[in-house]
Structure formats: C-alpha cells, structure tokens
Symmetry: C2
Subunit: 321 residues, 2 copies
C-alpha cells in the first residue's frame, strides 16, 4: 500500500510503498479515505515523544470503509474499564503502532463508530482525536450547559475549535482568544460572541471589559496567561486544561479557594465518550472545521503548516484509492 512513512527525526517524511497491515485478533481492516494531522504527529517527528520506533506510519485520525461500513476510528486503544482515567496499557494509534497516514490500517472492531452522514470524508477524518478530547473536556469535566459563558483559548487548534463548537451546540455563549485577527473573524462567523488577540499586551483588560465571570475556560496554552484565566473564572467555575508545554504560571491560591474554582486536567477520553461524541455530532449536525486538504504525497507541506501554527481547524490528508 501507499503510506507516508516516518524514518527518523529531522528527516523529511517519505511517501511510498509499505507492507499492508495484517489484522490481528479482534481486528478489522479499514480502507482509509481521509486522515488528519494532530500536534502529536509533528512533535513525534521532532523527537519529542518517548519510545519512538522507525520506520513507522504516523496519524491518529482517520475515516474510511470497513466491512462495507463507512466509519470513523477511535484513536484510543485499551482505555480500560474506569471512565475516570486510562489503563496503563492505553495508547493512541500512530505510534508505536502504525497510524492512519496510509491506505489501510488494522484496528480493533470496537474502535469503530459510524461516520455521521452529513460529513464528507475529509470532515469525518477531522473529527476523532479533537472531538474526543473536546467532548470529555466540555461535557464530562466542565459539564457545560445552556446559557453558560465559555472561554476557549487558542481557537485555531483542532481541539479548541471542536470544544467551542460543542459548547455552542449546548447553548453556551462562547468567547475565544487567538494570535490572529483573521481567525477571530472566522470564529465570529461561527457564532462566537467575541474574542481577543492574546498577543496584545492588554488582552486581559480588553476581554474583561466585554466579558468576565466565565463558567468554564478551556485552555491548552498555560504560561503567564494562566493566572489571568483564574481571575476570569466566576465563583464556582472551572478551567479545563488539555495541554500546554509552558507550565502553568504561579497564581494566587486565594483566587482558587475563596472563589471555589476547580482546575481539571483532561486528555483523550474513554470508549463510551467516543461513541457519545460521534452521536452528539450526528444529532447536532456539527461539522468539524477543515483548514486545508493535502494529498498524502504532499505530507511534508502539511506538517510544516501545522508546525507554523497557521491553521484554523484541522489539516487533512485525502488518501488515494
């Protein structure tokens, strides 16, 4: 089969022939129609993950056809029985096991969910990892409900945009931050109440002039801004953290305990949450935002676009049939 192959850190990805996967016990073959990039894929090519194996096929997001059914793939393997946290054996497809940047992948049958009818292949491939992480953040952890005020930081990212879309579908008032005026304008068209550019030195003053008392804040940036996020939360509110390499800046515990605020760490989600997320997307006819579609053979340009943070929504590969 054709695949985009990762050979070693710092090297360009190689598009070419690779052995077809052989399904193991309980596994089925999926003929992929589209796949999507995550930051995880870029970080792996930069050597930022433990246990990297080469050569291998990256990619955690995919949609395709399996046993005649149109499916999306749950990127999480072996979450385990406890919805609160994953088992020790939990892993994400696309390292160490081969991923979705290929014509075929073998996955457990219970990792499949029906592709929502209203989505194209590219839109469906944009859904799984970001949708799962966002669904757990918004509903399981933050328990967002109609009428609440929600702030999502860094709205260009795949998880951030899905989180905002889920909050909008739930009837929340959603605000965003971004480093780009253009992205903020796109967000406004999607139904955001407003937003600010976090590169402005006075972003906090700008935002708090328009909206304070957020019930829920969804963040993956951390850094110096975090202390401001704590102040933007309403009493009894929460901040959900699903990423952030920078470390959380020191903040005053008083802001946390006087005001009864919680901070929840979250990442990925349980199998049931994946099924619930796909059902929610189908029911509310939510369409993941596709930033751009690349041919799989043009993989290196797609990786560069993500590494430069240019995207608004998901960067998708169409897979040759």
């Amino acid at each position: 089969m054709k695949a985009l192959v990762y050979t070693s850190s710092g090297e360009a990805l190689q598009y070419g022939d690779y052995p077809d996967p052989t399904p193991g016990d309980g596994e089925v073959l999926v003929q992929l129609r589209a796949a999507a990039l995550n930051h995880r894929d870029v970080w792996i090519t930069q050597g930022l993950y433990p246990g990297i194996r080469t050569p291998s096929i990256l990619g955690s997001d995919g949609a395709g056809v399996s046993e005649g059914n149109e499916v999306v793939i749950n990127p999480g393997i072996d979450w385990g029985d406890n919805p609160a946290y994953p088992s020790r054996g939990y892993k994400v497809i696309g390292m160490p096991d081969d991923g979705t940047f290929a014509q075929y992948i073998a996955v457990q049958r219970n990792q499949l969910a029906p592709k929502p009818d209203h989505l194209s292949w590219e839109q469906a491939a944009a859904l799984p990892l970001g949708g799962l992480t966002a669904y757990r953040a918004i509903f399981t952890k933050a328990k967002v409900s109609a009428g609440q005020r929600v702030l999502v930081t860094g709205i260009g990212g795949g998880v951030a945009l899905m989180a905002a879309q889920f909050a909008l579908a739930a009837g929340a008032e959603v605000w965003g931050t971004s480093s780009s005026a253009e992205k903020l304008q796109k967000a406004k068209k999607m139904g955001f109440a407003g937003g600010v550019n976090y590169k402005d030195a006075d972003w906090y003053t700008q935002l708090s002039a328009h909206a304070v008392d957020f019930d829920v804040i969804v963040d993956s940036a951390g850094g110096d801004a975090f202390a401001h996020l704590v102040k933007l939360c309403r009493p009894g509110g929460c901040i959900v953290v699903y990423g952030g390499g920078k470390g959380l800046s020191s903040f005053k515990p008083q802001h946390l305990f006087w005001r009864q605020i919680s901070i929840h760490g979250t990442s990925m989600g349980a199998d049931q949450e994946f099924q619930d997320m796909v059902d929610f997307v189908a029911q509310h006819r939510i369409t993941p935002v596709v930033d751009s579609v690349y041919a799989l053979s043009d993989g290196n340009n797609a990786f560069q676009r993500m590494d430069r943070g240019l995207q608004f929504g998901k960067i998708v590969f169409s897979i040759p049939q």
Copy 2:
C-alpha cells in the same frame, strides 16, 4: 460583658468590659462557654484583612447555650442558595461583626446546630470553622470514600487535622506531613498510616518510598512543594486547596492532563454542609483535637502560640460564666 477586644493593629488585645450584644431580627443570644482561635484571627490583628473595624471582638468559633439549648455556631453568615459558591454578602463572624471571644454573641437562629453530646465545651468550640472547611474539602469536593489513600499536609492545623479525622472516619488510609516529629508521632497515635517532615529536603523521596498514588491530597501550603503534590496524585485523583499564601509553584500541565487530575479550591461551606458536618461528628463520635485551653483574659498568649505555629489541633478559650 467581659470580652477580648481588638483595638488596633500591632497593639495587644485588651481583656475587659464591652457592651452586651442586642439581638436583631431573627437573631438569638448565645451565652458562650468556649471559643477557639483560627489563623484568620491572628492575620486580622496583623492588619492582613480588608475592612478591619476597631474596636471589635474577634473569634469565629464558639459553643454555648441559647434558649436553654447547648449549641455550636455556624461561623458563616448568608452563604446563600447556591451550594457551589457563597453569595456576595457572605461573611464570617468575628470581623466585621463582633465574634466569639466574649461572654455573649448575637447570631441568626439558623446558624445554630445542637452540640454533639460526646464533646466537652472546649472540644465543641474547636469544631465549627475547621470542621466546616474540612467537611466540604473531604466530602463535597474530594468525595473521599473507604479504602482511598489521602494525604493531608501541615497536620498541626485545625482544618488539616479535622480533614484527616473525617477521612479516617470514612475508612480512608491517611498520611500526613508536618514540620515536627512530635506532631507526626501524635498523628500516628490517631490512626495515621504514616507521615514525613516537610522540612527535610528529601521529604518527597521519603514519602514516595512509602506511599504514592494518593486518591486525594488536602493542602493549604502551596509553595514549591505543590509541584510534588501533583506528582503524588494517582491518575484520576484530586488535590483540594483550602489556603496557602505562598502561591502555587509552577508545575507541568502534563502532570495534570495526562493523568486526569483535578485541583479544587474550597473555603468554608454552605449551611447544609454545616448541619451535615455536625451530624457526621455526632454519628462517628469524632473528637476535635484541642491543643491547649487558655483563659480569655490570657488571650495574647494564645495568639502568640498560634502565630508561632506550635499547636497540634485547636487553641481554645474557656469563657468565664
């Protein structure tokens, strides 16, 4: 009546005569039998609270007799209807309103709960503020249950000890940290599984050699140790923060989100939690630890003992009849 009167910052407290309180609408008079100190009282005398009024009577904790009933007093006034967080009008007795370091106090009738029969006046006075804060931390926020492993930092403090006692009563395995070997020994006698001295440079290594994977950590210290607490939490566990002037040290968000950990800020508690707490104490025959009992006329020595952090449990005043 006799009272311990705070006149101005930096001055010694004055023991002497003070006008009797006059109950307002819905209020009743309580003839106090004992009162107890909190850090709050000491910080007020150091000018560390906003809106300080003088002369006034400090003290948030008290037990006594009202309309022929033996009662303990809920130190929180006007929490409001939402159990998630207090109303804007919420305040704690003992500043700006007069407190419990006196022979009489006027409080709302619904602030009273029956004194548990198994407690002496001194033990009952040691219960309210620490018990309420600890109860909300342990049960409402952390949802501690039998068989869980709980770490309480700074176990000499009133809230910390009550939190540990509640967790023990719930069937948890409880560990503690302290700056004093003597306090750790006392804790061991109370049923703690063990503990470490947080002044030891290698406290984290010592503790993690004996116990890791804490379901719940209760902290009011913050500071540099906080990043270690995050690592001591098991996946899916939580840290409850009820104080800490030092600021939370910067910690890696990865430790939070990969491991699905939550941090909950908490302070005081709702009216229903106060009633539930007193019932729980009566049912499990929990006895608050009384560090020492002072005559109200000896107030300045009691304040000094707390300021120096010498106590294990509550510092109590007996009130002259």
